[in-house]
């Protein structure tokens, strides 16, 4: 970071006073279409979509590993996976799902949606935004190359010391885990800075804090959590790297080190992490439920402040993952109580969503169903969360399948359901057509049934004493039935999850076959200003900056009270929407350098792991990236500056699907 933030200061280009740069050294790329455009784009919408696509890719990886787990556990004493393979599979499953699926989907929505919702043309630092994505992607890919280079990490997703040390895990799997996530973390950090700056500084005129959509608020909280949580993980990982690669002693018990240091560092990061996985989903359903209940969100200030409160409280509860690590009763009591009280702000949210639905006229389409799915299933996960926040009962439950059930209910039943809801909801804004409702219903019910069939029984398994991370179990333990049920469920769930992608594919085909009919700017009678522009969102977002006068601004423009005090529709969304004419709008040009710069990190990473020689080309590439970055002119000089030339750009958004 220091390099990125610091270095360019020293460089003589790109300053407002010597722009436009007369020498055009390192001209910017200017392809508006094709894959090269995707590689060089700095458009927040495309970057958001790429985050989403990458997450889907990793979801399949994580999902396949989940299914491997379930196959292995379907029957007792199964030998489908060896102990070693099993350990790698569940570690990589957890790691992929958390860091490479849920976090990037959150980033996808934040990137795609947040600038639209605050009425901005792009994020504050578009090139850094692209860099964040690429560095995340390369970190994630590097992590997954471990499968082919000596095996994946085998320490569990929280990788406790000293089991993560070179003595106990001599293969390079954990190095991949460590360095891959370190790299991905750089992306999260730069992304957080970028997005927070955008929310704080680039809101449309009139959009005060209390007029921001709930999703924007949740993005803000999430990114603050990231901003502060990532460095703590970074420190843990750096210490581990120093231990593994450079023989230091941070987790060397023989030298008197305390392995709990790792646990504290990891969970100080880890707990804020779980909230930063759920809050974007909370934000999403806070947009969907009011829209399809045809009512404003119930208790907006409470929604906002409970989100902020969760963000704050999330920092004070990490040791609930360590109730049996031997902290001593005082700490355990303190953390137990603190954890229980997180149920309060979360409960406010749940109940406010219910109250929003109460008395509404509900349109139960797929997006809404998934949202309701989140509300109910997250509650189940939250309640089991509270049951192990009670420390004594956690001594029975921790590290059993009861915990596995808890976190899949909050992560899959909560976060992922919310994200799928969001995909159905904003798909038209991104791609210009709706996802099929019929398949959507199948999608939803398949997922609900598969999900509960998979993870519901895990509550029972856990309470019957099945510890987690078990490669196998014995016949005599009485665990056969529910394990088998869970395995069956997981396949239903897998197929149902795939339907999201199938639906996207089929709907797009149908749409194209029908000659790409216009879905209209406002297909759902939406409430926030992203619905006031064409679908798919034009490259330049807003023709003119929107001026916001109230919460749910767009809705208030469509509806007004008549003389009798009755609320009537005064205009449709299509009537009010901006026509999507980008004339006179100047957009930041694409750039090669984010991806070049990002590519240097994994090379350095491999160098640290295998041979320090490799860090030299990696370092050179890094320097080259920074060099190119700093030399790049602020604008693409090849794009003529006359204002009428930008109409072609506006069409770009529509050309992908």
């Amino acid at each position: 970071m220091a390099i990125i933030e610091g270095e360019p200061l020293a460089l003589p280009s790109g300053t407002p006073d010597d722009r436009p740069n007369p020498l055009g050294v390192f001209a910017r790329p200017h392809n508006a279409t094709g894959f090269k455009d995707w590689l060089t784009t700095v458009d927040h919408k495309k970057i958001g979509i790429m985050y989403g696509a990458a997450a889907m890719f990793f979801l399949i990886l994580g999902g396949v590993s989940a299914l491997l787990i379930r196959i292995q556990l379907a029957t007792p004493n199964n030998t489908f996976l060896s102990a070693d393979a099993y350990n790698q599979v569940f570690t990589m499953h957890g790691t992929i799902m958390v860091f490479l699926v849920v976090m990037p989907i959150g980033a996808a929505f934040a990137n795609f949606l947040m600038p639209l919702q605050v009425g901005a043309r792009d994020v504050a630092f578009p090139r850094i935004n692209a860099f964040s994505f690429w560095v995340f992607l390369f970190g994630g890919l590097m992590l997954n190359t471990s499968w082919f280079l000596g095996g994946g990490a085998d320490g569990g997703w929280f990788n406790y010391a000293p089991n993560n040390g070179i003595a106990y895990s001599p293969s390079s799997g954990i190095d991949f885990w460590n360095i891959g996530l370190l790299i991905a973390g750089i992306g999260s950090l730069t992304g957080a800075i970028n997005l927070i700056t955008t929310v704080l500084n680039m809101r449309a005129p009139g959009m005060s804090f209390m007029k921001m959509p709930v999703f924007v608020w949740m993005t803000l909280v999430t990114q603050f959590l990231l901003l502060f949580a990532i460095p703590v993980l970074t420190v843990a990982q750096v210490l581990l790297m120093l231990d593994r690669q450079f023989d230091s002693n941070f987790f060397n018990v023989e030298q008197g080190a305390d392995p709990l240091l790792w646990q504290h560092l990891f969970w100080i990061f880890g707990h804020p992490e779980v909230y930063l996985m759920i809050l974007p989903a909370f934000g999403i359903v806070s947009e969907i439920i009011p829209t399809f209940s045809r009512k404003p969100i119930f208790g907006y200030p409470f929604m906002v402040f409970s989100g902020v409160a969760i963000g704050f409280m999330g920092w004070g509860v990490w040791a609930h993952h360590m109730f049996v690590s031997g902290l001593g009763p005082l700490s355990v009591s303190a953390f137990s109580v603190a954890t229980m009280f997180i149920a309060v702000p979360t409960g406010v949210k749940i109940l406010n969503w219910l109250a929003t639905m109460w008395g509404g006229k509900l349109t139960l389409n797929t997006a809404m169903l998934f949202s309701i799915g989140l509300v109910t299933q997250f509650t189940i996960g939250g309640l089991s969360g509270v049951s192990h926040a009670i420390a004594p009962s956690d001594t029975q439950q921790t590290d059993t399948y009861y915990i596995v059930a808890h976190f899949h209910y909050v992560l899959f039943g909560g976060a992922l359901f919310g994200f799928v809801a969001g995909m159905y909801f904003w798909w038209p804004k991104a791609f210009g057509y709706k996802l099929g409702e019929k398949l959507g219903k199948w999608n939803f019910w398949g997922m609900v049934i598969g999900f509960n069939l998979t993870f519901g029984p895990m509550h029972i398994l856990g309470l019957q004493g099945m510890p987690r991370r078990m490669q196998t179990y014995d016949d005599a333990m009485g665990l056969n039935l529910w394990n088998f049920v869970a395995s069956v469920g997981s396949f239903i769930l897998g197929v149902a999850t795939l339907l999201v992608l199938v639906n996207a594919y089929l709907s797009s085909r149908k749409w194209k076959a029908a000659g790409r009919p216009d879905v209209g700017p406002d297909p759902w009678d939406g409430r926030t200003i992203e619905w006031s522009i064409q679908s798919p969102a034009p490259n330049h977002n807003f023709d003119v900056d929107p001026v916001v006068t109230s919460l749910d601004d767009f809705w208030h423009r469509k509806y007004a009270e008549d003389e009798s005090g009755k609320i009537r529709r005064v205009a449709t969304g299509a009537q009010l929407a901006q026509p999507g004419n980008g004339e006179g709008v100047h957009l930041p040009a694409s750039s090669y350098w984010p991806i070049v710069l990002a590519a240097s990190f994994p090379i350095i990473g491999y160098g640290i792991m295998f041979t320090l020689w490799l860090t030299i080309p990696g370092g050179l590439l890094l320097v080259l990236g920074l060099y190119g970055w700093s030399l790049e002119p602020a604008d693409d000089l090849d794009l003529p500056h006359d204002h009428d030339d930008h109409a072609d750009l506006a069409g770009v958004g529509a050309s992908h699907d």
Binding site: A10, P12, P22, L23, V25, A27, W613, V623, L631, L637
Partner: protein
């Protein structure tokens, strides 16, 4: 898109690489060593091999810079500047001193071969830098007919390297010089030396900010200061480190050999 410059340089670099490999093999290098830059296995005759690899690297770097800058094509540049016409190419206005530096580098390498590897590597570094800068200068000199423009061209390309690297160099020289002085002095001596240096620098700055010195005088003072620091550093380095053993008061020494720690 690819003008003759990069193509030419690319050719040069590839020949240098092939040359390096062949040379390495011929002079007894290990095949793996030769292709892995000596990571595993020997590379044969070091000097020649390294020179050829250095040529390869610098040609590559320049090649890609030229690709990116479209070979500094004067027409393109002029178009961008909005100038109507391209001034005719002129002979470079200033004599280039990179030749001297290169000669110095070669000398250092030769001396280094005979005396110490430090000189050898220093010489190599100088050679690399000189080669790069010289080529860059030559290239920018034919960018346009206007030496002023040419200088700007050069600066734009070199600046992002030059400025931070020079900064790093300046910083490293000062910091290392100070550390040598401290290391040579006694424990108390180090503190005193540091204190004096601080007082001089900060006091000087305060003075300078209050009174108005002639720029020339200022410059000489700064240069003088630099020379003093450098000289002190060299003297310190030459004096060597003091004896380290814990707690200077107790006589019995317990210094640990360098190797032992690792």
């Amino acid at each position: 898109m690819f003008t003759w410059g990069p193509k030419y340089l690319f050719g040069v670099s590839i020949s240098a690489l092939i040359g390096a490999v062949v040379y390495g093999l011929v002079t007894g290098g290990d095949p793996i060593g030769v292709v892995s830059l000596g990571y595993k296995g020997g590379v044969g005759d070091h000097l020649g091999y390294v020179m050829l690899i250095a040529a390869f690297v610098s040609a590559q770097v320049l090649c890609w810079i030229m690709v990116a800058t479209r070979d500094g094509d004067a027409e393109v540049l002029a178009q961008r500047v909005g100038a109507g016409a391209v001034p005719p190419v002129q002979a470079p206005a200033d004599p280039s001193y990179w030749g001297v530096v290169t000669a110095f580098g070669v000398a250092a390498v030769v001396v280094g071969l005979a005396l110490s590897s430090l000189f050898f590597y220093l010489g190599l570094a100088v050679l690399m830098v000189a080669a790069l800068m010289w080529l860059l200068l030559a290239w920018s000199d034919r960018a346009s007919g206007d030496p002023e423009v040419n200088r700007v061209v050069r600066d734009r390309v070199a600046g992002p390297f030059e400025v931070p690297l020079l900064s790093l160099l300046a910083f490293a020289v000062v910091a290392i010089a100070f550390s040598r002085v401290f290391l040579a002095a006694s424990k108390t001596g180090a503190t005193v030396a540091g204190g004096i240096a601080t007082v001089i620098i900060f006091g000087g700055a305060v003075l300078a900010s209050r009174i108005s010195l002639k720029p020339a005088l200022m410059r000489s003072v700064v240069v003088l200061l630099g020379v003093v620091v450098l000289a002190a550093g060299i003297v310190g380095a030459a004096a060597g480190e003091r004896d380290f053993h814990h707690g200077e008061e107790h006589g019995d020494s317990h210094s640990i050999d360098e190797g032992e720690g690792e």
